[in-house]
């Protein structure tokens, strides 16, 4: 029987995250070279905000689902008990205030908590997928993960970057020894890109022993980032490897089409007005760096030095606007989780990302101090079928 899906979203307009994640359930999406139509039907939708160009009403009229003014009603389809088989919480592109750390206070936790209320009241649960992450707050994210554990329902969160195409099609060997790792991110209004962090984590969690958690973080900005490179706080050869995978070098390449070794030609400080670096010390001794180089490139690249295998690198491909194929792979994972109840990757990945991001911003707020992060003792292993 076709499963019933409820959608809870901040705002549903053209080119919003909600549109990229919801429309495929209405019209189908490209999958393995076929046009795939999911065996799931959206029956109800809640939109927290209705900006200009709101799609919730026209889509509801055309595709025959109902809009409700509250989340509980959405999940109960107007009744008093849970009346759907799965819940998609798609946040982003709403207008919410930022906190003193610069984080948008997206009400994902509040949305989720209302879903949990319905589950408890109904004595029945359903899988929930949250886009892009659990919460801006690790404490809230932890509560969310614990609630799913307590009520025993599949909960997952994550963005498209870890599951998009990679150029090359690189997956780190399971159980590999990682000596050093560096991720390059760019773009967006946020000082640190959660997608970049998640993509990096999706690579590192495959190392020997699995994920052990993060012991300490430090975030620096501005010229200190370049000085840190000269001081050996991040590995220049990994930056060279990562940037060799970029298809979007800016500056001189825009002027006359020339290829550039951006890591070595001295152009970076000219191109990046606000560089940022996040340093992560994992509990098993691994060190990793996220460099935000907005202005130098427009894509996401990664490099790691592996024991015995040398340096491996790749680009996480963002497809061009309107970027619908870029979400297709994520939609596939969401659909499969809803249909099977099995999680395609661990929830702890998103939990880690929430905590790492928040602690980086805390470090920045405290003058780029190195912060111990005993709360980030998140340990997890990839299940065998994902290795």
């Amino acid at each position: 029987m076709t499963q019933r899906l409820a959608v809870v979203t901040t705002a549903y307009r053209y080119q919003s995250h909600a549109q990229h994640l919801v429309d495929p359930f209405l019209t189908g999406y490209p999958r393995d070279g076929l046009w795939h139509r999911p065996d799931l039907r959206i029956v109800s939708l809640y939109a927290d905000q209705k900006p200009d160009g709101d799609l919730s009403a026209p889509r509801a009229a055309e595709f025959g689902f109902r809009l409700y003014p509250a989340i509980a009603e959405t999940l109960c389809c107007g009744g008093d008990k849970l009346a759907v088989d799965a819940v998609l919480i798609a946040a982003g592109h709403g207008q919410y205030p930022r906190n003193e750390k610069g984080q948008v206070l997206d009400p994902r936790y509040e949305f989720f908590a209302q879903c949990v209320d319905v589950f408890e009241r109904s004595r029945r649960t359903a899988p929930i997928y949250i886009y892009p992450h659990l919460s801006y707050s690790f404490e809230k994210a932890r509560w969310m993960a614990d609630a799913a554990l307590r009520l025993n329902f599949p909960l997952l969160a994550g963005s498209a970057l870890p599951v998009t195409w990679r150029l090359p099609d690189l997956e780190l060997p399971p159980g590999c020894g990682i000596e050093d790792a560096l991720m390059v991110g760019a773009g967006g209004p946020d000082a640190v890109d959660d997608r970049a962090l998640e993509a990096m984590q999706s690579m590192l969690e495959r190392r020997r022993g699995g994920e052990t958690g993060v012991k300490a973080v430090c975030m620096i900005e501005g010229d200190e980032v370049w000085q840190a490179g000269r001081d050996g706080r991040w590995p220049p050869e990994l930056l060279g490897a990562a940037l060799s995978r970029s298809d979007t070098p800016q500056g001189l390449t825009l002027q006359d089409g020339r290829p550039q070794d951006l890591a070595a030609n001295g152009e970076l400080p000219k191109l990046v007005p606000k560089p940022a670096a996040c340093f992560f010390e994992y509990r098993d001794g691994l060190r990793a760096t996220l460099l935000m180089l907005t202005g130098a490139v427009r894509d996401f690249t990664f490099a790691a030095r592996l024991k015995d295998l040398g340096i491996l690198s790749t680009q996480f491909l963002l497809t061009p606007e309107p970027n619908a194929p870029g979400s297709a792979r994520l939609v596939r994972h969401i659909e499969e989780m809803f249909l099977t109840g099995r999680k395609p990757y661990p929830l702890e990945r998103s939990l880690m990302v929430c905590g790492m991001l928040e602690s980086c911003l805390d470090s920045r707020g405290q003058g780029s101090k190195r912060l111990e992060t005993p709360h980030l003792d998140v340990q997890y292993q990839l299940p065998g079928h994902l290795l």
Binding site: G33, D247, G257, P259, A324, P325
Partner: protein
């Protein structure tokens, strides 16, 4: 490897050659091709030659072909080889010539003088999304590419996209017996009549990253009616290989801006499909880095003297490009191609960018 000599036929307002020569003093610009190859002496003085004969202002003929002077340049290169009694490897960007007879001469001269010649598009060697290779020895029933661009231009890239895949089929390439072009209303009629398989078209479109939506505000698979609205000047080249394989190259400007391949293969329920990744700057990238694999293979040939893939592939696609133009010129009549009975075997190893 040092780039030591450059000949540029036309240096327009946006010329880069002078600036590059200033930045790289080891590279000198010469006024003739012979001088570039001899470094101003009377003997061949280089170890390899790259011939890039497109862009620039050259006249068009009555069939709409731009008379890019690749054959003329090649003749001058070969004259130096003959005069010096020595040859070196040559890489020719894109097809050999717009003129089939000249292309054949170029190929024949490379055999006569026994120098390594490699040619073609970056499509066969760029990234593929997904990163898959046509299984060697596959029994292919039908092959199809949906791409974009114009006649005597990107049609060549679409043909190379198909050829680098189908040459790996059981028995290798056997050459092409005939080609028929479809354009405008005849294209839509053929599409409707199923002259080429619609399921392969859909499979190819499902690999595109630039598929125009059937409806504004959606990312929906376009119907045939949507496509009619989106594509102003559709062109198809459908051709039969000597072993019975049919291939179809579709130029659908307005529908996609990438190169997507699909084939039906014995033993597979769903079509084999992938995108050959050519993210054209400036919209999608800043750097045309899909040339990197092509440069890599040139470099390898210059260093080893061995082409990475057979030039017969591009000899055939050169002939197919000209045959497409010819069929269109003859009012979309089927064009018999006895001259394209070009049989060859591919190198078993993959040469596309995957690491």
């Amino acid at each position: 490897m040092d780039l030591v000599a450059l000949y540029v036929d036309q240096a327009g307002e946006n010329d880069l050659s002078r600036g590059r020569a200033r930045r790289f003093p080891s590279m000198r610009i010469y006024p003739t091709i012979a001088e570039a190859l001899t470094l101003g002496t009377n003997q061949l003085a280089v170890d390899g030659v790259v011939l890039v004969g497109e862009h620039g202002n050259y006249p068009r003929n009555e069939k709409g072909q731009t008379r890019y002077p690749r054959h003329e340049f090649f003749e001058q290169i070969v004259r130096v080889f003959r005069d010096s009694r020595r040859s070196v490897p040559v890489f020719n960007d894109k097809h050999l010539s717009w003129n089939w007879d000249w292309a054949r001469q170029m190929y024949d001269q490379s055999r006569e003088l026994d120098f390594p010649l490699m040619a073609g598009s970056s499509l066969p060697v760029t990234w593929r999304i997904p990163s898959v290779e046509m299984p060697l020895g596959a029994v292919i029933r039908e092959a199809l590419c949906v791409c974009y661009g114009g006649v005597d231009s990107y049609d060549f890239h679409g043909l190379e996209t198909i050829q680098c895949m189908v040459e790996r089929r059981q028995g290798g390439e056997t050459g092409v017996q005939w080609l028929q072009a479809y354009r405008g209303e005849r294209f839509w009629q053929a599409c409707q009549d199923g002259v080429w398989p619609r399921d392969l078209m859909t499979a190819a479109l499902c690999r595109s990253h630039t598929l125009a939506s059937g409806r504004p505000g959606f990312h929906a698979l376009p119907s045939l009616e949507d496509m009619r609205r989106l594509v102003q000047d559709p062109v198809a080249y459908r051709y039969r290989h000597h072993d019975g394989l049919f291939s179809t190259m579709l130029l659908m400007d307005g529908l996609v801006r990438d190169f997507n391949f699909a084939a039906s293969i014995d033993g597979r329920q769903d079509p084999f499909s992938t995108q050959l990744y050519l993210p054209m700057p400036p919209a999608r990238t800043s750097l045309a880095s899909f040339f990197s694999p092509l440069v890599h293979h040139m470099e390898r040939m210059f260093l080893t003297g061995k082409p990475s893939y057979p030039v017969e592939r591009t000899l055939l696609t050169t002939g197919l490009t000209a045959a497409g133009v010819e069929s269109l010129f003859r009012n979309q009549a089927r064009y018999e191609t006895p001259h394209l009975a070009i049989a060859y075997h591919p190198r078993p190893e993959s040469t596309f960018w995957r690491t």
